[in-house]
């Protein structure tokens, strides 16, 4: 009796919660290990070795609050909020382009400072786009095979976002969002040849963008053979591979890596996976990827058992984003993809990304709770 009542209430998928918390802890520890030397030697961080670690801990705390909030926040309400969220994302994306508001770093303006906190609008755009596409598919669930209702709305929203991201410029976010949209409408049920055509246009567009700026071609070349230019474009990738290579099977032990000592740039953010491989070895790296596989598996399960198509698509979008970022990030770090700045979800340093991903997990948990309630209800119905 007691057990039944819990099930009827509907419980969240605890395994997702636990895996997420493990990932956060994993990430915070590795950010500490990867950033300490760099931060204590840098004037930008007041020579405080714990600076980035503290910021990441702070981000994790905010993220935890956001995750709890969204776990109890009925995801269906997001449907109604879709335009508001989209508008907020739009405003942020515009604001970043305003000189004085946007923070320019390494030639691109990716952050804005609000109340002393740096926010990356691209991260907000990701969730806004997921909610909008999920809503669109929910509305048009019965006419997904048409171009007008199935494909057009998502693309019409994606396009301006991409233009704004292009102006930053932040091409990696464009690639991720484009791939996200593609996969969401694929799962949403658009026609096969519509997708094929869209994919073709995407590839051609990508090539055009690539040829436009010579440094992108160089980056591509450096991915094919980083040793061609070991001090220039290939440097970061080579350093990343040095990290993985010197880790071996068991790693140097946590905290004992050498590559983070000024050799590997962005070892605490985009290239943290290399530091993990160096310190925790192949075992640590594979374990991390296995945690992601598990998270994706459970996430897809949540998508499949969601109470409605909006929940399904929301969960799909969230899982896809996580999966995409893992694949692209690890792909870059292992010299399997051309270098591009995509963070490793839950692990890489960056509060915006952490808070957004944890909010998404909150949403996912809420969907899982509601899906289970329905599942339990139907099972109960069948038994009686």
């Amino acid at each position: 009796m007691q057990k039944k009542s819990i099930l009827q209430k509907g419980s969240i998928d605890y395994s997702i919660l636990i895996v997420t918390l493990i990932l956060i802890a994993y990430g915070v520890i590795m950010v500490f290990s990867a950033s300490y030397y760099m931060a204590q030697a840098s004037k930008d961080y007041n020579y405080d070795g714990l600076y980035l670690f503290k910021k990441q801990l702070f981000g994790a705390a905010i993220g935890l609050a956001a995750m709890i909030f969204f776990t109890f926040f009925d995801y269906k309400k997001l449907f109604k909020l879709r335009y508001i969220i989209l508008a907020i994302a739009g405003v942020f994306l515009l604001a970043v382009l305003v000189p004085g508001v946007g923070v320019t770093l390494n030639g691109s303006s990716r952050w804005i400072r609000v109340l002393g906190i740096s926010i990356q609008p691209a991260e907000i755009a990701k969730i806004a786009l997921i909610i909008f596409i999920a809503s669109s598919i929910y509305i048009n669930r019965n006419r997904m095979s048409t171009f007008r209702y199935g494909m057009l709305p998502p693309l019409l929203v994606l396009l301006p976002i991409c233009v704004l991201l292009y102006l930053q410029p932040n091409y990696s976010a464009i690639i991720v969002l484009a791939a996200l949209t593609f996969i969401m409408i694929f799962v949403g049920g658009v026609k096969g040849w519509h997708l094929a055509a869209l994919g073709g246009i995407g590839v051609i567009g990508g090539i055009v963008l690539m040829v436009q700026e010579p440094y992108r071609v160089a980056r591509l070349a450096s991915f094919m053979d980083p040793w061609q230019n070991p001090t220039g474009d290939g440097y970061q990738v080579i350093q990343s591979l040095y990290g993985i290579g010197s880790g071996g099977l068991f790693g140097q032990g946590i905290g004992n890596g050498t590559q983070k000592l000024s050799w590997l740039p962005y070892g605490e953010s985009d290239f943290i996976f290399s530091i993990i491989a160096e310190e925790l070895g192949l075992i640590g790296a594979v374990l991390l990827l296995a945690l992601f596989v598990f998270l994706i598996y459970r996430g897809i399960k949540v998508a499949a058992t969601a109470p409605d198509i909006f929940g399904t698509m929301l969960a799909t979008g969230i899982v896809t984003l996580i999966g995409l970022q893992v694949v692209v990030n690890v792909g870059v770090v292992t010299a399997s993809l051309p270098p591009t700045g995509v963070s490793l979800p839950f692990i890489s340093y960056g509060s915006s990304s952490l808070v957004i991903f944890m909010s998404m997990i909150g949403i996912l948990l809420n969907i899982s709770k509601q899906g289970r309630r329905i599942m339990m209800a139907s099972t109960a119905r069948q038994r009686t």
């Binding site: 040095y242 050498t258 050799w263 594979v286 198509i309």
Partner: protein
Amino acid sequence: MAASHVLITRKRLLVLLIILIVLIILLMTRVGYWSLWKGADLKAQAESQWVKDMEVSAKRGSIMDRNQQILAQSAAADTVVLLPEKIAKAENANEIADQLSQILGMDREEVYQKASNTEKKEIWLKRQISMEQSEQIEALNLKGVTFRDDVKRFYPNKDFAAQVIGYTTLDGEGQTGIERRYNTTLSGRAGRQVAETAKDGSGVPNGQEMMIQPQDGLNVVLTIDEITQSFLESACKELYGAQSPESVQGLVMDVTNGEVLAMANIPEFDLNSPPREDAETLSALSANVITATPYEPGDIFGIFAAAAALDSGTSAGEYMCTGSHTVDGEAVTCSGAHGSQDLANTVLNHCNVGAAMQADAMGRDAFYQYLKGFGFGSKTGIDFSTDTAGDLVEKRYARASDVAMMGTGTDIKISQMQLASAAGSIINGGTLYTPKMVLGLSDADGNMTETYAPEAKGQTVTEGTAVQLKAIMENRAQTDGVSVAGYSTGAVCGAASQYKDGTVVQDRVVSTYIAYAPADDPKYMVMITATGVPATETIETVCAPYVQETLEGALKNGNIMPSENMQEQEKVTVPNVAGMQLQEARDALANAGLQSSYDGSGAVVGQVPAAEETVYKNSTVTLSMETKATPQGESGMITVPDFAGMDMATARDTAVSSGLVFVARGNGVAQGQSPAAGTQVVQGSDIVIEFRLQIASAQ
């Protein structure tokens, strides 16, 4: 309808799941490929990037005189470095140019150019600056100006024995002299430091480190005696000033073992700042003419012709000189017609005809045998950077006329070192020693690790011949009035044509004077050569007074007992002059046949030797006076200055100028001294100063 789209979605979700899982598994494999398959290779590359292999330089050994007085020593010194990028950022190129050009005595424009050359990452502005300069620059606290630790070679006595000691490059590589010859020994072996570093070269936490300690160079202890060298140098400098030759070479040798006690080449140069920019001047100044430059010895060579003639038993009772003599169709001319002379007089008269006759009489084979025996035509084997073999015509090409000419010291080229060692062999009774410059090697604590024994090369002439020749030389010394009170002396001299670019220089000659003492048991031989001295009446004896002066110094410094036969000469008893007034005392001593020296005025309070002692006539009695002449007088008291922080050269100058004898221990900057600063000591006392290498200030 509703069911179908849910079905499609579920199917496609499964596809998505599979794709993502496959991709991630592929990535796991990819990680495995890099960490296991390529891991060892990547790790090796990474390690070579992390590890920095640095050379740790060894400390260069010192060069010391035979009493281990320092002649050359290495110490820390700063090198000023400009960082143009920082200067550009701070926009202080003008300020730097103004300040540094003034402090370092450099051209302002040059400094400015270097400071604003942003193409370079760092520029070494000036190496091995003095401590004062680096303190001044440090005090300015200029952005973009920094220092690198460097090591400078210090020569505390500056130009002292410059050609013997030699100089080094700024990096401490010996270029000439002992610095060059013993470069490897002095350098030691560099160590290595292998350490894990960050990209900017700084150390890393928990970094591995391995150190191979450098092996410091050994000290080279010369046979040179600092005091004898000073006597020789001041005599040579006097000669250089008084007779205006182009150059003067001087040598003091111990004929009993071939050790060179002093060797001077005037003009000299300050080894601390050799004229590096002017290669030609530098190579001319730094050449040790004595060992490096062959020349035609001229009529001084007559002593060897006579030696060979006597020793081979081919000497004649009489040599008739009519002013010229023809051998095998070639005429040998003489400075004058000397008439009939015996062998001794051919030497004393510098008679070319006599010498030619002697060489001719013994024939080519015998003469060459003696030339070889004296070491002409082959290297002396001196342990020095330069050692010329001279120029001796190969025996089979020598005609009878050539042999006769060689007897007169022409058509043969020898080095002054060969001349000295050959002369030394006659003086010591016939043994030819390899001339020696280095006594041995010592370690940092001053212990001798290696000692080089004298090396006898062979017998040049028999003892009997040597005795006969020495009688001639004693005669020469008497004629020239070369004498040192209490010692018997011998001498040989001569003049030769000076050649420049293969032709004879008119009105200039090379004049050499050699003297030794004590004549009955020879110890020291002094040889001074004035090269390019104006030809005058007394051309053969122009160097004689300076040789005598040096010889006297060497004998006194060497504690040589006066000769036996001199002791048989007059002896007197020292009168008691204590209590007398100065003039009274001096008269009393003069009456007794004694010299006197005094250090003040008033009454005599003491005397050395004491009253009633028996001493040689004409020796000196030193009087101690009631009133000292000056506070800086012979036994005056002085206050010890504070040496702390001085570098070696400055400390030495300070010590010398305040009348102290400078004794250095260690290397670097003065950190301790004994006696302490402010102590009253007798003038001429030792001041022992501890030097320690500067500890690089952490910036």
